[in-house]
């Protein structure tokens, strides 16, 4: 395999790995459930994007024709990640999970639970 392809693929792999790792660190480290939601929804999207681009380049090079079904994975990820986050946040509000004390607008979560206007 040519050197520059290896280089590009490994750069994408490392970048993707770093983002996924940061997302996971966020999941472990942030103080409450709602802030923890932010790590996996965002950092993981870009991390997975980078990994899939690396996979696309490598597969295209090795098979000799354009490999595009990684794009589908990205698309499905972009559609499902926000929905998952939304459902998790909704569930958390219904279970009245503890909210970090310094969160401003805490009382809004009660209104949101009942789906009322603020």
């Amino acid at each position: 395999m040519e050197f520059w392809i290896e280089l590009v693929v490994s750069v994408f792999l490392v970048a993707g790995g770093i983002f996924v790792l940061i997302g996971s660190i966020g999941l472990a480290k942030l103080p409450d459930f709602y802030t923890r939601l932010h790590g996996p929804t965002k950092a993981t999207t870009l991390g997975m994007g980078c990994l899939l681009i690396a996979s696309m380049i490598l597969a295209t090079y090795q098979q000799g024709y354009l490999s595009v079904h990684e794009l589908l994975i990205t698309l499905f990820l972009l559609i499902t990640a926000p929905v998952t986050a939304h459902m998790l946040a909704k569930t958390a509000m219904h279970h009245e999970l503890e909210i970090l004390d310094r969160t401003s607008g805490k009382e809004l979560s009660k209104r949101a639970r009942e789906r009322m206007n603020p």
């Binding site: 983002f19 940061i22 997302g23 660190i25 966020g26 480290k29 942030l30 103080p31 409450d32 709602y34 802030t35 939601l37 932010h38 790590g39 929804t41 965002k42 950092a43 999207t45 870009l46 991390g47 490999s67 595009v68 079904h69 794009l71 589908l72 972009l78 559609i79 990640a81 926000p82 929905v83 986050a85 939304h86 946040a89 909704k90 509000m93 970090l100 310094r102 969160t103 401003s104 607008g105 805490k106 809004l108 979560s109 209104r111 949101a112 639970r113 789906r115 009322m116 206007n117 603020p118």
Partner: protein, 167 residues
């Protein structure tokens, strides 16, 4: 917003096209056999499911849609760096918040897209929508200025969506 299907054989032309393309992408091929099979699926699935559809406003402006998609992809990349910085920094400095964003936009599809965009972009996750679909509740990871954030969501994402869907 009621639109009569144009031909009964092809009740949802756009969906058929998407199904066809997704089928070929999933199989990662343009072999004739898969084109025939994909074509068959693209014709029959909409025929079976068109009765379950409730009408949504369509994408009226392809160029504006493309611009919106590119802008959101750019924002996702920025969002990732911002969230990465916040995660790696001290979590004692974070000031999380719940905010309620008033919505001018109507209909389910545009609101869904707006909520998804909000979840994917800098430091915000949509948490709930009020029953009358006038307010979107959003959790913010690190709030600096509430009014500015609400204004930026409305201007940056809601405005183009209203333009795209013309509602």
């Amino acid at each position: 917003m009621k639109t009569k299907p144009r031909f009964r054989l092809l009740p949802m032309p756009l969906h058929s096209l998407i199904l066809f393309v997704v089928w070929l992408l999933l199989n990662n091929t343009v072999a004739p056999g898969h084109i025939v099979l994909g074509g068959f699926l693209a014709l029959t699935i909409p025929l079976l499911t068109s009765g379950m559809q409730n009408t949504q406003p369509g994408f009226r402006k392809p160029l504006a849609t493309l611009r919106y998609v590119l802008m959101v992809i750019g924002d996702i990349i920025v969002a990732n760096f911002e969230v990465a910085m916040l995660v790696l920094g001290s979590s004692k400095k974070l000031s999380p918040a719940f905010i309620a964003v008033p919505l001018n936009i109507e209909h389910e599809l545009p609101i869904t897209i707006l909520a998804s965009t909000v979840s994917l972009t800098p430091g915000t996750v949509s948490a709930e929508i009020s029953a009358d679909k006038k307010w979107l509740y959003v959790h913010v990871l690190n709030l600096t200025d509430k009014d500015e954030l609400i204004a930026s969501i409305k201007q940056r994402y809601e405005q183009p969506l209203m333009e795209i869907f013309e509602c």
